[in-house]
């Protein structure tokens, strides 16, 4: 099963209903067995290229194409199974309920005979290192395991081209390592060609032998061996948001804050999702100017702890205590506060911004909290304009929040919380999947909040973020029952 050959000649794609081309004038040739990292700023159409090669862009009703894109000389859609695609979101690509069935799904669609299918399933699971019974539930897998499962499902189809679209963006460091290692084994075993899209260069740096940078005006900006491209284009790439190891984002300078006044404490706190206790016996206190980082593997209850401290989930045992300076007459248990009282006390930024967006316009989104507090119209306008400017959202003031890019949505969700100026911010994976530019802005903004005497509690896998902001770190271990 040799690797596939990829060729693009003046290729372009415009999604139906859009004025601009997602990709334009693309010329490139990828030889069988090459391992390519595809880079470029947000919005240059990296995903579109990958989807095009996978043959899943759809027909004329989905959009318009120009030029030619081929896989082994044919249109990709006519070579189903020749290219295998793994996407970013682990949850959205699990297809069936049992591990074995999920891996077999692609083989079935290609009409592979039964015995051959199961032989391939076992082999694929072994290569990606998923040592699980075929009947194992796919629901019970971690993010890294789910991505390896998707990889196995693709591998079982015996593809000549492996297409990865930010497969590690949503994973913890352990999951990232698992997926990269599994990919390496797959390529070594099969000799397949690889095209991977990723913001974080260092993740794939060692695995790829070629880097292609797509330009903002269409076409290829740079193409060559990783070392040369990253040296020549490193600065430009970093400026456009790509994580280049030699050009890391600026780290903030924190004014040193000793022990500020205590704002929120957890006392022997146990937290639960539904009835399932995920973490227990937590003691912590966060004070003005301090940032506590909650780290630990998936399933350790980081997000649940954040949401419980934020007064959104009820503690399973123990208590969350708001100190008088924060409570300001609203009682010492945040869970008992009214929704409106939270606004000026504790702000929460969810992992998925879409879970906390409420309106059809960016400006409206920022006004909601202020209106709930009955802030005067003039004051509202002033605060909103200032926030829009600070977070580079002014040009999007009238856009629909759901249509923003990932980075823009993240900045907006932070802005909605800052509008009502709560002294405590609870952040759940604030930097997940963010490009280096958004990361830098976000960190700079959080730093200035801390310097102004605000407090932050953040659940995160991002070691760089912890280095930049945390005044202390609480490492959570998953409870034994959770692993079962």
């Amino acid at each position: 099963m040799p690797g596939a050959r990829v060729s693009a000649r003046g290729w372009g794609w415009r999604h139906a209903g859009r004025d601009d081309w997602a990709v334009r004038d693309l010329d490139l040739a990828i030889e069988p067995g090459e391992r390519v990292l595809l880079l470029g700023a947000s919005g240059v159409g990296k995903s579109t290229v990958i989807h095009g090669l996978a043959g899943v862009l759809g027909g004329d009703e989905e959009g318009e194409s120009a030029g030619e894109l081929t896989l082994d000389g044919d249109h990709p859609a006519s070579r189903r199974g020749r290219a295998g695609l793994v996407l970013q979101d682990p949850d959205s690509q699990v297809i069936l309920a049992r591990v074995g069935d999920d891996v077999a799904f692609g083989c079935e669609n290609l009409g592979v005979p039964r015995e051959e299918t199961w032989r391939r399933v076992r082999e694929a699971l072994a290569i990606v290192g998923l040592d699980l019974p075929l009947e194992h539930s796919t629901e019970a897998l971690s993010g890294g395991q789910k991505q390896r499962l998707a990889l196995a499902g693709v591998l079982a189809m015996r593809p000549g081209l492996l297409l990865l679209d930010e497969p590690t963006a949503n994973l913890d460091p352990e999951g990232v390592r698992e997926v990269v290692e599994a990919t390496r084994r797959v390529l070594d075993e099969t000799g397949a060609t690889l095209v991977v899209v990723e913001h974080r260069v260092e993740v794939w740096r060692e695995l790829v032998d070629r880097v292609i940078v797509l330009g903002a005006d269409g076409g290829v900006l740079a193409d060559g061996v990783p070392a040369r491209v990253l040296t020549d284009e490193g600065e430009a790439l970093a400026a456009s948001g790509v994580w280049v190891p030699s050009h890391p984002p600026r780290m903030p300078v924190r004014r040193d804050h000793g022990s500020g006044e205590s704002l929120v404490s957890a006392e022997q706190l146990s937290v639960a999702r539904g009835r399932r206790v995920v973490q227990e016996g937590v003691d912590l206190t966060v004070g003005a100017g301090q940032a506590i980082a909650l780290t630990g593997a998936n399933g350790a209850g980081k997000s649940t702890l954040v949401l419980t401290l934020a007064g959104l989930l009820a503690p399973a045992a123990g208590r969350v205590l708001a100190h008088p300076v924060l409570a300001d007459g609203a009682g010492d248990a945040p869970l008992r506060w009214r929704s409106r009282e939270l606004l000026t006390r504790i702000g929460t930024v969810f992992q998925d911004p879409e879970h906390q967006l409420l309106t059809g316009r960016v400006r409206e989104e920022l006004a909601i909290g202020l209106r709930a507090l009955r802030v005067s119209r003039a004051e509202q306008e002033a605060r909103i304009d200032e926030l829009l400017q600070r977070l580079r959202l002014t040009h999007l003031a009238d856009a629909n929040p759901f249509t923003l890019s990932g980075g823009e949505k993240r900045r907006l969700s932070v802005a909605t919380m800052l509008a009502t100026r709560p002294p405590v911010l609870m952040l759940d994976e604030p930097t997940f999947g963010q490009d280096s530019r958004t990361w830098e802005e976000l960190v700079a903004m959080l730093t200035s909040l801390l310097d102004d005497g605000n407090a932050i509690v953040m659940a995160t896998h991002d070691e760089r973020l912890v280095d930049a902001l945390a005044t202390s770190t609480l490492r959570l271990q998953p409870r034994a029952e959770v692993l079962a």
């Binding site: 669609n109 592979v112 998707a150 702000g347 906390q356 409420l358 909601i368």
Partner: protein, 261 residues
């Protein structure tokens, strides 16, 4: 999706889900034709004899069928109080007429709900959704695109439930959840719809990328058999239905539901 609660050593667990579905429909289909207490009682007695062989533990049985045990008497009480009056009147108050006729009807209703509901639950808790999809596509020959699409979509339900909870917490964090819960509902439902469509289209892309919906004739990694035990289950179902009808007709209790005034 519900966990499958069966003892695999018992025969029922391994029977093709299509046969279970057909059997449950067969029994229900016959029992809704009449509304007398004899046919329902006969069916219920025969069914109970068979539950012993179903491989469902007593605890699981009572737990899963609990809603039916609650629903049946409630339906009965309602009919006893407000059902069509005939014969002696036992009790009367405003619209309430408890009569000989309404009580008989109530008893028949309770038995009927149990006779239709209990076997349906017992057969269905031993059904795995994947096996059902295999059966529907391979045995019942329903279009595989439709069946597998629905099966994969079913997986999203769990994700959407947790999305809904997050949306609720999100609204509390945004300071808008103190009043107007009902007024907020359409907005929240719309947000869920947007998220659902996005998840759904990602899933569809993932499935398409694995060759789903192509022109190639699909193979099946799991064989869905329809053999002797499946036929046997159908025969048992038919026998229960037939016995119930026969005894009811013989004792003169049978009455077609549409024959009632």
């Amino acid at each position: 999706m519900t966990a499958v609660a069966v003892r695999p050593d018992r025969a029922v667990a391994t029977i093709n889900p299509v046969a279970k579905l057909a059997t449950a429909l067969l029994v229900a289909g016959v029992l809704v034709l009449t509304i007398d207490w004899v046919s329902a009682t006969v069916a219920l007695v025969l069914e109970f004899a068979l539950f012993a062989f179903a491989g469902v533990s007593a605890r699981t049985f009572w737990l899963r069928t609990l809603p039916i045990w609650i629903m049946a008497p409630l339906a009965g009480v309602t009919i006893a109080l407000y059902g069509e009056a005939s014969g002696d009147t036992y009790f009367e108050w405003l619209f309430v007429h408890v009569t000989e006729g309404s009580v008989t009807l109530a008893i028949a209703t309770v038995l009927r709900v149990l006779a239709i509901g209990l076997p349906a639950v017992v057969l269905f808790i031993t059904i795995d959704p994947t096996d059902l999809a295999d059966g529907l596509a391979q045995v019942a020959k329903l279009p595989s695109r439709f069946v597998l699409g629905a099966l994969a979509g079913l997986r999203l339900v769990g994700l959407l439930i947790s999305d809904w909870r997050s949306l609720e917490l999100g609204r509390r964090a945004r300071g808008v959840s103190d009043h107007g819960r009902v007024r907020r509902l359409p907005g929240q439902a719309f947000a869920l719809l947007v998220i659902a469509i996005r998840r759904g289209s990602k899933l569809a892309t993932a499935m398409e990328a694995r060759g789903f919906g192509g022109t190639t004739r699909r193979s099946w990694a799991r064989a869905s058999h329809f053999g002797r035990s499946e036929v046997l289950l159908l025969i048992i179902g038919a026998a229960i239905a037939a016995t119930a009808v026969a005894v009811s007709v013989a004792t003169g209790h049978w009455n077609f539901i549409w024959a009632r005034a």
